[in-house]
């Protein structure tokens, strides 16, 4: 054919040695055909493409080529794989028949596997979420947070506003410094008034973190004051639209509403981000909120916000950290001298931001962290449940195989090799696993909302629809199929044909494997039951433990004063005390330097005592403290205005202190009599004890109550005012308090917190995990129970005749029951013996992580064992009864 005759557009498509076939077709053909054949065949295809091009349009010709390719591949594939396909199809047919024939057993297997795989799906998404926290930023590995250790308090990821400039100026390896703080402030637009999480950040925020914009310009968004960036959710909540750029809203800044212009809207902030906010404004507004400029040195400035550093890719954070003491000396040395303090009392450090979520470092402005322990708990549960389900499968398929011996024998006679039989059994278990995976995905979808509620996450099945998770799930599927299929496959393929047909063979029920699997299952079940009992006991102990004070109806009002020179705490306290006399709703008022120590602002003094150092925490309180929190005074007296001696030199101590120093008669003793203040310099703090109070938890229940004293020395501002309200209607009292607040300290926000709420949120997570353990234990027991049910059913069906004869000869039900269940009882007793040491070891390790723990009650061990035994016996009993109540004639007649 002459090429001149072709339409012109053909010439563009045409070119020598370049295939016009689509990629996927080439890929398939290359694999299906030999090299030479591929050449000829694709040539033929191209030729017919050109013929089509001559006759029809380009598009239709191409379309026909695709159709043609797909019709080619199937016959070629079939001709190549014909026999393999036939074999597999046959296997599948037999498998589905078997599944249908033994409905109950298949159901047990599939549900067991499905439940365990559902747990794994939850596990994968949970762990994936936990480990992906804050890693979605492109610069994630280079983002660090500054940390600080003040005095002897544990390090926290907080920083002071004044540090940013010097850090930027001093270190060339720090590319970017971003200060970030998040606080709840009232936001008002039209009729919308609500408290929102308002974040303050330096302009470098958007070059450091990857929070994509829906609208607006990232570069300039918060460069200037009075500009605000919203998120997708907050924009639609506040304005009812996702594009409010250019509109104006007002934010309460230090009780002074100020107008801000919306400059941009961010996409929804991912759930796995520690940085969460509704609105973002320039960090310059920090001085509006606090009504003060932050200047001065490290001692009289508050550490409260987070500072993020972007390090140069080639710099080493260790080297940088080593330079920090010199840096502190250079910039703040003079300041420390002025206050006669040691520079080492403020130690700066670095912490990688992507480790923050699972790490121990606390920060007020970021989302709460979680403990890696929870991932491990979930992993343990998922593994136990999976092992239980796999053992069920092994037991049942071995037991059932005795009913299928003829099938196996026939196959062998007809020439099926060992490999073929193994493949058949593995295929069978894989097919079941596939059913299970489908079922488990449905289960997971149903469980996700509940699971999210307990774990406080926003997981969904979407987490699994990506290549890596799908691979993990597929691997899990294959693994499950192999683990549960391999043993029956090996055993059954090894049998001799003569043995099979002689009828002497007996599989399952009595052999060592079945017994050890049963023991293994019982051990796991006992372990789960005992473990969850211990967990429940510990958690309820934690949440019900008497804190040593009455937190009900107590409101804590933060005064946002950090250092001595801030007197707003004192002013608020005085105002509230005046109100106390007028307002019957307010029962007691007290100021304190901290009602608990989340940020470590309580002061500490190290005392030398019998060659060791004892750290004593002190809290500044005022006269009403014991009354407001209803802390019982055991000996001596409370602080009172009539006290003759100097009020600043007396303290009330807790029992822990009395015990620690071994004081016989503490009241009236001076500290100098039994301990030595190790503070360097001339000043020593040696107060006299005037009273002893009962121990109360001034920190988290995870920590032990240490020695503590209450004093009235003005060594720190009142950071909180505690107000005890009359039970019933707190609203009116709160309104009154707010009025007073506005009059006395107009420059500080009024944000009261009920102690109830803070404590509850502290322990909610523990309680939720208690629930997760309880539910999963129930599932584990259920799966083990189903397995036992199946196994007993098999045993009984095999011994129907025997039971019938025994009944005829006069055996009563208990006799038959003991016949069937004797084995089981022995096995469970052995399992108990094996499980107890394991539980003991695991539980005591786990309890070690709590300072306040229930003693490891030994009665839990026999209780768990007995529960499992009872449960097993009930399952066996029901079935024995059923078979015994039948007329023995029925079971004996059929032959």
């Amino acid at each position: 054919m002459d090429s001149h005759a072709w339409p012109s557009n053909l010439k563009n498509i045409m070119s020598h040695n370049r295939s016009n076939l689509p990629q996927w077709g080439q890929w398939f053909l290359k694999r299906l055909l030999s090299g030479e054949d591929y050449e000829f065949f694709s040539g033929d295809l191209e030729e017919s493409l050109h013929k089509d091009l001559e006759r029809k349009g380009c598009l239709r010709a191409r379309l026909r080529l695709h159709i043609r390719l797909s019709t080619i591949i199937i016959p070629i594939l079939m001709s190549k794989l014909r026999w393999t396909v036939v074999l597999i199809a046959n296997d599948l047919k037999i498998t589905t028949r078997n599944i249908k024939k033994h409905r109950v057993f298949s159901l047990i297997n599939i549900t067991g596997l499905a439940i365990s795989l559902a747990f794994f799906i939850l596990l994968i998404s949970y762990v994936k979420d936990e480990w992906s926290y804050d890693r979605f930023h492109a610069k994630a590995s280079r983002i660090y947070m500054t940390t600080v250790e003040i005095m002897n308090n544990p390090p926290a990821a907080v920083s002071a506003p004044i540090l940013a400039e010097p850090l930027r100026a001093e270190f060339p390896e720090i590319v970017n410094v971003v200060r970030y703080w998040c606080t709840s402030q009232a936001v008002k637009v039209g009729t919308f008034i609500q408290n929102q999480d308002v974040a303050l950040a330096d302009p470098g925020f958007f070059s450091l973190f990857d929070f994509p914009f829906l609208s607006g310009l990232p570069g300039k968004a918060i460069d200037a004051p009075y500009q605000v960036v919203l998120t997708e959710e907050s924009a639609s909540r506040i304005f009812g639209t996702v594009d409010p750029v250019g509109k104006v809203l007002s934010i309460n800044m230090g009780n002074q509403p100020q107008d801000f212009m919306v400059r941009g809207v961010l996409e929804r902030i991912p759930g796995n981000s520690s940085i969460q906010f509704d609105l973002l404004v320039s960090f310059d507004h920090i001085s509006d909120i606090f009504q003060q400029e932050f200047t001065g040195g490290l001692i009289d400035t508050p550490f409260f916000h987070a500072t993020f550093l972007e390090l140069h890719p080639e710099s080493n954070p260790k080297d940088l950290k080593a330079k920090f003491p010199g840096f502190v000396d250079k910039y703040y040395g003079a300041h420390f001298q002025k206050f006669e303090m040691d520079q080492s009392s403020v130690r700066l450090g670095l912490y990688r931001f992507q480790d923050f979520h699972l790490g121990p470092m606390g920060s007020q402005s970021l989302e709460g962290q979680s403990r890696p322990l929870y991932s491990w708990i979930l992993f343990g549960i998922a593994l136990v449940v999976l092992l239980l389900a796999c053992s069920n499968y092994m037991n049942l398929s071995l037991g059932l195989s005795s009913l299928r011996l003829k099938e196996i024998g026939a196959k062998k006679v007809l020439g099926a090799g060992k490999i073929h039989l193994i493949r058949q059994f593995i295929n069978e278990s894989l097919l079941l696993s596939i059913f299970a995976v489908v079922l488990s995905s449905f289960m997971a979808v149903m469980i996700f909302p509940r699971f999210n509620q307990y774990t406080g996450k926003t997981l969904s099945i979407d987490y699994l629809i990506n290549p890596s998770s799908a691979c993990v799930l597929l691997g899990l599927l294959l693994l499950t199929g192999l683990i549960s299929g391999i043993y029956p496959a090996l055993i059954l393929s090894r049998l001799k044909i003569s043995d099979i047909f002689s009828g002497k063979l007996k599989l399952g029920g009595k052999n060592i494997l079945t017994r050890s699997l049963l023991i293994f299952q019982s051990v796991l079940t006992i372990f789960m039951v005992a473990g969850s009992l211990i967990m429940i006991k510990q958690i309820s102990y934690l949440t019900r433990e008497d804190l040593g004070y009455d937190y009900r109806n107590v409101v804590a009002v933060p005064t946002y004063s950090f250092w001595n020179n801030d007197e707003s705490g004192d002013r608020a306290l005085a105002a509230f005390q005046r109100e106390l006399e007028k307002n019957p709703e307010i029962l007691a008022v007290a100021g304190t330097s901290g009602y608990s120590t989340p940020m470590g602002y309580s002061n500490r003094t190290d005392y030398e005592f019998q060659d060791s150092l004892v750290t004593v925490a002190h809290k500044r309180v005022d006269y009403g403290f014991l009354e407001a929190l209803k802390i019982p005074l055991l000996q001596g007296k409370n602080f009172s205005r009539e006290l003759s001696s100097d009020i600043e030199d007396v303290v009330i101590v807790n029992q822990a202190l009395v015990r620690r120093f071994g004081l016989k008669d503490p009241v009236g003793k001076n500290f100098s009599e039994f301990a030595k203040d190790t503070r360097p310099g001339g000043y020593k703090y040696t107060p006299t004890i005037i009273g002893v109070i009962q121990d109360f938890h001034f920190a988290s229940l995870h920590q032990e109550i240490g020695p503590m004293m209450l004093n009235m020395r003005p060594e720190g501002p009142y950071m909180y005012i505690l107000v005890c309200l009359r039970p019933g209607n707190p609203a009116s009292a709160l309104t009154a308090m707010q009025e007073i607040w506005k009059e006395t300290i107009p420059n500080k926000p009024f944000s009261p917190v009920f102690l109830d709420d803070t404590l509850k949120s502290q322990y909610r997570r523990e309680q939720n995990w208690g629930w997760i353990t309880r539910i999963s234990t129930a599932f584990a027991v259920l799966i083990a129970g189903m397995g036992l049910f199946g196994l007993t059913a098999l045993t009984i069906s095999r011994r129907t005749k025997e039971i019938g004869i025994r009944r005829v000869l006069g055996a009563n039900i208990p006799a038959v029951l003991s016949l069937i269940s004797r084995d089981l009882i022995v096995l469970i007793l052995i399992a108990n013996a094996a499980a107890w040491p394991m539980i003991y070891w695991a539980a005591s390790n786990w309890l070690q992580s709590f300072a306040y723990r229930t003693p490891l009650a030994l009665w839990i061990f026999p209780l768990a064992g007995a529960m499992v035994l009872c449960f097993g016996m009930i399952i066996v009993c029901v079935q024995v009864m059923r078979s015994c109540l039948q007329n023995p004639a029925n079971s004996l007649r059929n032959e």
Binding site: N17, F40, D44, H50
Partner: protein, 113 residues
């Protein structure tokens, strides 16, 4: 020796008809024309492979042309065994069809009466 299937018979006859120009595309077109039924390349490829394996046809490698995307061509010719097989098939066919028209006419008359 297995008898040929109808499809294989048709393929062999097509190759005979096409003489020097029998290759996948032409064979397909000819067959589709004669039987007025769509035929997929894959089916044809598989039966050509089978016929070649059984020794009824053999192939010759031809030149590459630009309209084939620079790919060489594979011509098929029927071997001696192929021709013999066809003859035998013809014999069976003929003996089966022998006297068909006479019998058919007779049967038609019978139906009509």
């Amino acid at each position: 020796m297995k008898p040929l299937t109808r499809h294989e018979e048709h393929v062999l006859l097509t190759i005979l008809h096409l003489e020097d120009n029998a290759y996948l595309v032409t064979i397909k077109e000819y067959l589709e024309e004669q039987t007025s039924r769509e035929l997929s390349f894959g089916t044809l490829y598989v039966s050509l492979k089978r016929l070649e394996k059984m020794g009824y046809i053999r192939h010759l490698v031809g030149e590459a042309t630009s309209k084939r995307g620079g790919k060489a061509i594979k011509y098929y010719t029927v071997t001696k065994e192929g021709v013999r097989k066809l003859e035998k098939a013809r014999e069976v066919q003929d003996s089966m069809w022998n006297g068909f028209s006479r019998l058919a006419v007779k049967l038609k008359k019978h139906h009509e009466s």
